[in-house]
């Protein structure tokens, strides 16, 4: 088996980390394991290692020659720095990042704190979807009176959203 980092020497160090029942494996040759500080248990974290090895390849899969429309960041830049260019990069490179985040973290969805603003946006979005559904149903049932009322409510909501 070849080393995951240099891909030329035989792997002699096999690392396994179990995170919430999910197994992650990395195979390294002697030289690379020393270089990555794997043999020094205090300096080693598998996530850092995974980030260094597979990150750029993962991103390439999703967006072969894509450039972030906001900051102009490319996959080559990610390969160089291991960091993204701006928050929109998460959308631009979403496909490739998905696998990387999955390997790196406990879950794939955020369950913690969000800004108050986000809760409002999510709530408004839910209400908007419900109203649009009702409107479609009302139109299909040729119930134009309630359709008109629903359209007014949607307008009102759009106004609220814009604030």
């Amino acid at each position: 088996m070849l080393c995951d980092v240099c891909k030329c020497n035989d792997a002699t160090v096999f690392l396994t980390q179990i995170l919430e029942g999910k197994m992650q494996k990395v195979n390294l040759c002697d030289a690379c394991s020393k270089e990555k500080g794997v043999q020094d248990p205090t300096g080693f974290a598998l996530a850092d290692l995974l980030l260094g090895i597979g990150a750029a390849e993962e991103i390439e899969k999703g967006a072969p020659s894509q450039k972030c429309p906001v900051c102009g960041f490319t996959q080559a830049d990610f390969k160089k720095t291991g960091r993204l260019g701006c928050s929109v990069c998460y959308v631009t490179f979403a496909e490739g990042l998905g696998g990387l985040l999955k390997a790196m973290h406990k879950g794939t969805e955020h369950v913690g704190k969000l800004p108050q603003r986000a809760h409002r946006e999510i709530e408004l979005g839910d209400r908007m979807r419900a109203l649009t559904d009702d409107l479609e149903k009302a139109v299909a049932a040729e119930n134009y009176e309630s359709a008109a009322a629903l359209r007014d409510q949607i307008k009102q909501l759009e106004h609220e959203k814009a604030i």
Binding site: G43, D48, G82, L84, G85, H105, H110, G112, K113, L114
Partner: protein, 374 residues
Amino acid sequence: MRFSNVMATGGEWLRGEGPHHQIVISSRVRLARNLRQRAFPGWAKKAERTQILELIKPRVEELPEMQDSFSELLQDLSALEKQVLVERHLISREHAAKSVGSAVIMNRRQTLSIMVNEEDHLRMQSIRSGLQLKSAFKLVDKVDSTLEAKLDFAYDARLGYLTACPTNVGTGMRASAMLHLPGLVLSEMINQVIQAVNKIGLAVRGLYGEGTEAMGNLFQISNQTTLGEKEDEIINRLSKVIETIIEKEHDARQMLIQKKSNTLWDQIGRAYGVLTFAHAMTSKEALNLLSIIKLGVDLGAFPEDRRLPIDELFIDTQPAHLQKSSQQKLNAEERDHLRAQIIRERLRVFPKPDISKVARESENGSIPEPQNNE
């Protein structure tokens, strides 16, 4: 507040209080936040970085928590001053390397420090003495909630807070505790503990974080993942693991007293001898020997009122603190001499280790337990 004030007053966390303070030196929680649709600091051009800094800095300075704060642009701090802040864990080593377009703002008590344009636009950190991860989180969470009303933070409904490095995405939170574990090191059980901690997805690092050596038997334990788990769940999980490690450390100390007492007294005696009489000492040697003396205080071999001077030496003998307090730039050799001199002076009134006291306590089966101040 000026830098000289920062230097003169030790941070609150250096005082050695809080639950389990004998073993847990400090607890830290940091949150990473970024502005929406703006290039992250590492990718932004100088002009944009400066613009972002000008947006963020006034909002941070007007926080009620930041009254009478210390607020400086990184280019206005000398290399030595930056290093002092690193040694106090108030800024990161990465931040110390920054200049134009970056800033640090911290409160008077040095329990809250906010870095602008480190790896992310905002890195907000709270640091407390002892095992107080929950209260550290509470403070930094409150500051975050105040700031989010004034600054447009980047987030995604599915991915949470968006950060420059994908390893921080989600909560953007890193919670960590600095542990003093001489018992586990002396009894050669530390590697087992580190491996076990790594296996459950937590990271163990040296004194100054990523890639640094474990000196003075000091270890930092932190969460490694930030996505898919709530903030308080992460903190609870980490706290439980730390409490288990504290138990293991106490077990190891008891085992040393009962089965390897000769080695233990030899270590304490030697540390006392070298610290009291040496005329040249590197910071690594100083930390390692001070760690053994601190263990001696914990075990009762030195009186309890000697704890503070030892804790202070841990930080005062660090290279930048040494030079800043002597107000001169020193080369390594001069530093080693000055360090030994300061330690000798502070230990002049230090009594010899009284091993009989520890032996008596261990016969009664009552090793001094950690005091819980919470």
